[in-house]
């Protein structure tokens, strides 16, 4: 709570991931603005095919900060190649058809993804997804083969380990625009 009191002093929106209660809350000034149920929180790491699963100790409470959000690199860009002189404002008004009104031409916005990663300040990734990655036998074998081939060609960069937060598809999409650079996430377990 002391950590949140520090965060709440700033005029920002922050996230509180409560692992114990299985909920991720959007908060500002201590107010809960939205609450999203979390199915699971786990760690995903690249491992050798025959290595066994293990557990990952995580000391709580901890504060993570997003240093690169998924939208930082995936935004649509409008880039006109040339610019022409603007017509005068009077001409605009004269040409405007006041009877029928303006004709709206919205730019279609793509639906947010249901699985995406953001880089945290501890060099781990925060991975929001609607389901855990396929990691059963045949699939793991296939992925390891592809990775092995990439390594042989010298092109493999293993992804950083990630904290995987699983939630419903709509909630994962809902959260997408909030995972921006600078977003602070307080991870806790017992806090009410």
């Amino acid at each position: 709570m002391e950590l949140e009191a520090q965060l709440a002093r700033q005029p920002v929106v922050y996230l509180v991931l409560n692992i114990g209660r299985g909920v991720l809350e959007v908060r500002s000034r201590g107010m809960v603005l939205d609450s999203l149920p979390v199915t699971d929180v786990a760690v995903v790491r690249p491992k050798r095919l025959l290595s066994g699963s293990s557990s990952h100790p995580l000391e709580l409470p901890v504060v993570w900060q997003v240093v690169e959000g998924p939208r930082d690199t995936e935004r649509e860009l409008i880039a006109p190649e040339t610019l022409r002189p603007a017509p005068s404002g009077e001409e605009d008004v004269e040409d405007f058809d006041w009877e029928s009104g303006p004709s709206p031409t919205p730019t279609p916005i793509p639906s947010p993804p249901k699985s995406y990663r953001a880089r945290l300040d501890n060099d781990w990734d925060l991975w929001i997804a609607d389901r855990p990655p396929l990691s059963r036998g045949p699939w793991r074998f296939f992925v390891a083969s592809i990775d092995g081939l990439a390594r042989l060609r010298g092109r493999s960069e293993p992804p950083p380990p990630a904290y995987l937060v699983t939630m419903s598809r709509s909630d994962a999409q809902r959260l997408y625009h909030l995972i921006r650079s600078g977003m602070t996430i307080l991870v806790t377990t017992e806090y009410p």
Partner: protein, 230 residues
């Protein structure tokens, strides 16, 4: 097989023997493929999930229970002091909804439009604008009836026009509607000529409302009202 002249001739293979040959070839290919993939899989890695084991520091070793309770009470008071009082506005950017509250009581929920998140680049300088509605807490700093929009450079560049040198060419008395509630940094809660687009992410970062809802917000949100955008 030997014919009557003593020359060796080959008998055309039957369907059964053809199938056996194909099966043998296929098996060989599969064995080589599986063997190759096994070698590659041994070199590579695949993502694996591990469960998290939560460790919490044993604070009682540092502080007594009484001190802990005092710290907790202090933190609770700090948080309570930070919560807004009176009228405040909450904008849900994802669902394009604006809610007006008074002391945690919901007064009105309305449909709005928020930023597209699209990036615009100026071809002359490479300067970029991101059309995001900002997150966080803002304050209604100024309220204006019949606001006039001084169009910034991006409003011209987006349409493929050069920004005019004459400042008088930038004024637009129509686009913002009847009221404007200014939140700083050029972000405004204002009206729209495009009511059919309410509920969609179509703006350059401002918050657009329909005429009646804008009038309600204008008359019910005094100067200094806090706006929470998330």
């Amino acid at each position: 097989m030997i014919d009557y002249l003593g020359t060796r001739v080959s008998r055309p293979p039957t369907n059964g023997s053809r199938a056996r040959i194909w099966l043998a070839c296929l098996s060989a290919v599969l064995i080589v493929l599986f063997g190759g993939m096994s070698v590659l899989a041994g070199l590579g890695s695949s993502p694996r999930m591990d469960q998290i084991v939560v460790l919490t520091p044993n604070e009682e070793t540092a502080d007594s229970a009484e001190q802990l309770n005092a710290r907790l009470t202090r933190a609770r008071r700090q948080l309570a002091r930070l919560r807004p009082r009176g009228v405040y506005i909450v904008v849900d950017i994802f669902h394009n909804k604006l809610h007006v509250y008074r002391n945690d009581e919901l007064l009105r929920s309305v449909v709005c439009s928020t930023g597209t998140g699209i990036v615009l680049r100026d071809p002359r300088s490479g300067r970029e604008w991101v059309f995001d509605t900002p997150l966080g807490e803002r304050t209604i700093q100024r309220k204006v009836r019949n606001p006039v929009w001084a169009k910034p450079d991006w409003a011209f560049i987006e349409d493929g026009y050069l920004p005019p040198e004459d400042p008088n060419e930038r004024f637009d008395p129509y686009s913002l509607g009847r009221f404007g509630l200014y939140m700083g940094d050029g972000y405004i809660i204002h009206g729209t000529l495009f009511e059919s687009l309410l509920g969609q992410r179509v703006t350059h970062g401002c918050i657009r409302l329909g005429d009646q809802d804008l009038e309600y917000v204008y008359y019910n949100a005094p100067l200094g009202t806090k706006v929470y955008l998330y």
